[in-house]
């Protein structure tokens, strides 16, 4: 079933069509909401809010973009509104978000990590990145959206998206290499 037919079925009140839409896009919404909000206890409520907004606004979907892009935009806007309500500091759209500018990462000076823990450690490091970085990383790598689509979803210019992606990857790579250095082993051997 293509997007237009699915939308028409939902507008006709077919709850199975809506169930299908939710099942198809819940992973995308969960990733966007989860990476922005980062609180498991709130994630489910926000995902519900996103899908109810999708249902309320589905009559306005004109098919100019993919349905997944349109849903991701609603998920992104809802999550950002939630963060604003929570009054978090990380929402500034500076070119150099505070965490990155001149940061020193104390956690890499602690005792060496076990190889199996490195992946978990880097997942934590992603969560510590500024919200803009986490968002573009998730949309680009996890959901495989193009720069154009990410621009549509977030409203950030393409150049900013590329710059955030490149900086985020650089930060994570540096952390990864620091860990490898502390470990004094090559943690990447499985890829050699």
């Amino acid at each position: 079933m293509d997007d237009a037919a699915l939308v028409q079925q939902i507008l006709n009140g077919n709850s199975n069509a809506f169930r299908f839409l939710v099942a198809k896009h819940q992973r995308l919404v969960l990733h966007v909401v989860g990476r922005i909000v980062q609180r498991q206890e709130d994630v489910e409520d926000i995902c519900q809010e996103v899908f109810m907004k999708v249902y309320s606004k589905i009559g306005k979907f004109r098919g100019e973009s993919k349905l997944s892009t349109w849903i991701a935009r609603i998920a992104y806007n809802t999550s950002i509104s939630y963060l604003r309500k929570e009054d978090r500091d990380e929402l500034s759209y500076d070119e150099r978000p505070a965490l990155v500018a001149g940061e020193t990462d104390e956690s890499t000076h602690r005792q060496p990590l076990e190889n199996v823990e490195v992946k978990k450690y880097l997942m934590l490091k992603i969560e510590e990145l500024p919200v803009q970085y986490r968002t573009v990383l998730t949309l680009f790598h996890l959901e495989q959206f193009s720069y154009r689509e990410i621009e549509e979803i977030t409203g950030m210019p393409e150049g900013t998206i590329k710059s955030y992606l490149s900086r985020a990857r650089k930060i994570l790579k540096e952390k990864l290499e620091k860990v490898a250095e502390i470990e004094k082993t090559n943690i990447f051997t499985e890829y050699a």
Binding site: I10, G13, S15, N16, F18, R19, F20, V22, A23, Q26, L30, H31, V33, G34, R35, Q40, V43, E44, C47, Q48, F51, M52, Y55, K119, L122, M123, I126, L137, T138, H141, L142, R169, L172, K173, L176, E177, A180, N186, I187, F188, T189, Y191, A192
Partner: protein
């Protein structure tokens, strides 16, 4: 050479890791629950829409009858307004009762029956 290889491996490792699922979960029945909510919302707005049509039709019929009486049968509308003004409580309560019964019949009862049907399923 060895350093380049290390960088390439780090890049591959990183890209692979960025594609791995974050640790957030939704309940298994999330889609079912959303479909249920949607079904309730759809039923409510449908019944409300139908109620608005019925209410509009009733008001329309009353307006047409009044117009026929006043313009064709030559009824005195001043005596009507005088009657309505003197018996305002009866007129308002009759209109309220009429629309309440209509709302209960067309919206509330049907909505609760729809809900209980969904819950039983």
């Amino acid at each position: 050479m060895l350093n380049d290889e290390k960088h390439t491996n780090a890049d591959k490792w990183l890209v692979d890791m960025l594609k791995s699922e974050p640790n957030f979960v939704l309940p298994d029945n999330f889609a079912d629950r959303m479909a249920e909510k949607m079904s309730r919302k759809f039923a409510w707005s449908l019944y409300l829409h139908e109620f608005a049509i019925y209410a509009g039709a009733i008001l329309g019929v009353i307006a047409v009858l009044a117009a026929v009486h006043i313009f064709l049968a030559g009824a005195d509308w001043k005596s009507w307004t005088k009657f309505a003004g003197e018996n305002i409580e009866i007129v308002v309560s009759t209109a309220f009762l009429l629309f309440f019964v209509l709302f209960t019949d067309r919206v509330l009862l049907r909505y609760f029956m729809h809900r209980s049907k969904i819950d039983s399923v």
